[in-house]
């Protein structure tokens, strides 16, 4: 995790609900080593910010409006940013299996304790 000392991990938030993005931003940036570089509320928003902000990690609402249906959900993201780490965040705990099978680097259900989001972020960043 030596990279953390050099520059913060750039995180892009994608969730259709403003309150969720706002809470996540507050939460993640408290850590000091993460920096939210953009927020997207739709799939096309997400693609735009992916290209513009060059993030390391996307915290992606698995139910984000406008994404293709499974199992193609991540293909537009991979097309634009093949090396990006994707952490799927979902209100549906059962989505874990398909999210990981489709290539998400981590999965956190919205019913889990919030520190699991940080854990997933650290874990994904370790793999960068």
């Amino acid at each position: 995790m030596a990279g953390l000392l050099v520059e913060p991990v750039r995180v892009l938030l994608a969730d259709d609900q403003e309150k969720v993005r706002s809470a996540l931003k507050l939460f993640i940036e408290q850590e000091g080593c993460f920096c939210v570089v953009g927020e997207a509320s739709t799939a096309s928003d997400l693609l735009y910010h992916l290209m513009k902000t060059n993030p390391h990690v996307v915290l992606l609402d698995w139910e984000l409006p406008g994404l293709p249906d499974s199992p193609q959900k991540l293909s537009p993201l991979r097309l634009v940013a093949p090396d990006i780490k994707i952490i799927a965040l979902s209100g549906v705990p059962e989505a874990r299996k398909s999210a990981l099978a489709e290539g998400a680097d981590g999965f956190v259900s919205k019913s889990e304790p919030p520190e699991n989001v940080l854990r997933a972020l650290y874990f994904a960043y370790d793999k960068v």
Binding site: E18, V20, A23, L24, G91
Partner: protein
């Protein structure tokens, strides 16, 4: 007719029919009992020959069956279907009753009249039909449940997740910047109240009778808080007048407000919406109450002359209004917000 043998052997024919065939004379004494009848009823032909038809019926139906049989015998009709509309019940040798459909035919013979009953055991069919009905019912319940689950996920889960994330980080924020801490605490309070409103709104969908019991102004305030929590649109509610409305009117007005605010949240891109309910005695000294419900927003509006699939909701609102004799008026223009107004004298 030349194709048929001079004397058709009925017993040979009946032997291959899958339905039970029972022939009897005018006194209802059994004269013939085919193979299928033996299988269905559990008697051999020898056991029932010369016995009255009654042995094949539940005891409680014997009287009424005798009457029907006599009526049929006396009537000019040659055949009659039995149990088409609702099944009749027959009785097996072991006493077990089973549902059946039957037909009866009478033939005039030189020796007297012959009655032939064809009977089909429909136990299996009824079982399949009731299984299919149960499956359809379960599917409807499952569909409704998954809709509610989706709504719960879209609404309450998101809000509570935000609450839990902010609560987690709040102590550290407070240490560093108490002012920011207080702001976030206020946000927490709003979010948790919103989650409560969303949950109560969804509970109403699980128990629609609660809609009829509740007060319309309370319902509208709760709906507004719920829409605000879910979509972020500020919704002001203004209530004027305190007239009790009938349950049908209350439910219809609530549903119209719900549909209109759903449209605001989904399609309008509005930052603000207003709900106004006014009830007062009707003008001109007429009896009754004048009710007006107005839902408006500052969103993008739409061209009311163009019909879009998303406008189905508007038709539903119109139908609901018409059902209580109310007038529904929708005004909108691109870039100028939308106003839905329902008005009725009740």
């Amino acid at each position: 007719m030349t194709l048929l043998p001079a004397e058709l052997n009925l017993a040979d024919l009946f032997a291959v029919i899958v339905d039970a065939v029972v022939a009897c004379d005018e006194q209802q004494r059994i004269l013939l009992f085919n193979k299928s009848a033996e299988q269905i009823f559990g008697y051999t032909q020898d056991e029932v020959l010369s016995q009255p038809l009654d042995v094949l019926l539940p005891k409680r139906f014997v009287e009424v069956h005798r009457r029907h049989f006599a009526e049929f015998a006396a009537s000019p009709v040659a055949s009659r279907a039995i149990g088409e509309r609702r099944p009749i019940y027959a009785r097996r040798k072991n006493g077990e009753e089973f549902p059946a459909e039957a037909a009866i035919v009478k033939l005039q013979r030189a020796e007297g009249r012959l009655f032939i009953v064809l009977l089909r055991d429909i136990t299996q069919r009824q079982r399949i039909e009731s299984e299919l009905r149960a499956q359809a019912q379960q599917a409807a319940v499952a569909a409704e449940r998954s809709r509610l689950a989706r709504d719960l996920h879209d609404a309450v889960t998101q809000t509570l997740f935000s609450v839990s994330v902010i609560a987690d980080v709040l102590p550290r924020i407070w240490e560093r910047d108490p002012e920011e801490g207080r702001r976030r605490l206020k946000e927490l309070r709003q979010l948790s109240r919103g989650a409560l409103a969303e949950m109560r709104t969804l509970l109403l969908e699980l128990r629609p009778s609660a809609l009829m019991e509740a007060n319309l102004s309370d319902l509208l305030r709760q709906l507004a808080a719920s829409v605000n929590s879910r979509s972020g649109v500020e919704v002001d509610v203004h209530i004027e007048g305190e007239t009790e409305l009938s349950p049908e009117v209350k439910v219809s007005l609530y549903r119209i407000a719900q549909e209109a605010l759903n449209n605001v949240a989904k399609h309008s891109n509005a930052s603000h919406a207003w709900v106004a309910l006014t009830t007062r005695p009707a003008d001109n000294g007429a009896h009754g109450t004048q009710v007006r419900l107005v839902i408006s927003d500052n969103g993008c509006g739409f061209d009311t002359t163009i019909s879009k699939p998303t406008h189905i909701g508007l038709d539903i609102m119109r139908e609901r209004a018409a059902a209580i004799g109310a007038q529904l008026d929708i005004r909108s223009a691109v870039g100028a917000g939308t106003t839905v107004q329902v008005e009725a004298v009740l």
